[in-house]
Symmetry: C3
Subunit: 149 residues, 3 copies
Amino acid sequence: MALATGNGPFPPTPPGTTSRMSRIRRLGTSLRFADVVIHGDTARWVEVAENTSLDAAGQIAQVLEQIDATLPSIGSDRTRILQVIVHLADLSDAATLDRLWDAWVPAGHLPVRARVQSGLGGNCLVEMVVTAAIEESASQPGHATESSH
Amino acid sequence: MALATGNGPFPPTPPGTTSRMSRIRRLGTSLRFADVVIHGDTARWVEVAENTSLDAAGQIAQVLEQIDATLPSIGSDRTRILQVIVHLADLSDAATLDRLWDAWVPAGHLPVRARVQSGLGGNCLVEMVVTAAIEESASQPGHATESSH
Amino acid sequence: MALATGNGPFPPTPPGTTSRMSRIRRLGTSLRFADVVIHGDTARWVEVAENTSLDAAGQIAQVLEQIDATLPSIGSDRTRILQVIVHLADLSDAATLDRLWDAWVPAGHLPVRARVQSGLGGNCLVEMVVTAAIEESASQPGHATESSH
C-alpha cells in the first residue's frame, strides 16, 4: 500500500492517466454564501436560526428543524450526519443544547460533535456547522471525466 | 473538464446511472455523539481530555495520547492526519501546545492546523477536532450499489 | 441501498476485496503544520495574514489574496471553494469582512461560510479555515491499490 506524500511541489500528472473530479453542487439564493455545498457524496452547510428573536432553546430547536428541512432536499437524512460543530454564544445554554440534541439525534447513527463558545454577533445564540453524507450519482455529467494529456 | 454547478434544485438522477454511496461507520458508546465517524476514507472526531483535572500541559498531552489510541483502531496513524482544529480555553497555553505538538507530529506528514481560543466549559482546557485519512475497503457491503431508477 | 452503520468494532475486510486509498499530498516548509493538505480531491488549509501589522481590512484582504495564491498551486480556483470558516478576533470587523468577501467570491460558485469571533492571539485579526475541491488524478501511484489479504 503505497502512500504518496511529500512537501514539495506536486508532480505533473503522467500522460495517459485518468482524472476524476467529483461534482460540486451548490444550493441557495444568497449572494454571500451558499446554503449548502455538496462535493461528491459529502454535503457541508451552516445553520443559524432564521428567527434570532427567539431565546436559546427556541433558536436551538429552530436550527435543528432547519437541518431537518435541508436533509431531504439534498438526498440525506439524520442518520447520515457525520459531524456537527456547535458554536454557542453562551455556554450556559449547554444543558439546553444537550436536552434538545439528545431528543433529536437518531440512536445508532450519532455524528461526532464539538461544542464551543464563540462570539456570534447580533442576537444569534447558536450556529451549527454540519457535514453530512449524501447519495452520489457517479455518472452524472461533470462527475467523471477521461483525460489524456 | 466539465464542472457542474448551480444554485437551483438538483436534477433527478438520469435513468441507468450508477449510484455510489460511501460507507458510514461510527464508533463509540455514548448516546450523545459518536467517538469517531468514518465516511469513505475520511475519519472525523473530537477529543477532549478524559481527565480535566489536569493542567493545560497535562490535558494537551492526554488529548494527543487519545488521538494516538484512536488512530490504529480506525486503520490510520499519525502520518495520515489531515487537519486538526485546536480550541484552547486560554491562548496563554499556546506555547505549551506548540511544544507538545512539535514533539508529536511526524516530520514530512504534517496536518494543517488552526488554533483558536474558544470557551470550552467545565475544566476543559483544550478540544481538538481531527480529520484523518483511513484505508477504505471499496467492496464491502453497502459501499457500492448499482441503481437503475 | 444498503447503508452499513454501527457502533461496534469494525469487521475485518473480507478476503479478495479491493482496497482504495486516496492519495495524501502535503505542501509547505513549516515544521509545525502543512500549508495545505490534499486528500483525494479535497484540499484543506488555514490562512492568517502574513503581515499582522495590518489593520483588519488589510489582514482580511491579504488572507483572500493568499487564498488566491494557493488555489492555482493545488489545481483549484475560486469556483471550487467548498467551505470557509472565518474566525474574527473582533466581530466589529464583520462588516469589513462582508464588504471584501462580497467583492471576492464568484457569483454562482459560493462556498458555505461560518463567521465566528474567536481569540486569535498576537496581532492576528482574522483566520480562515478553507476546504476546496481539486482535480484528482485517479491513477497516480499510491491512489488505487489491490489487496488480497
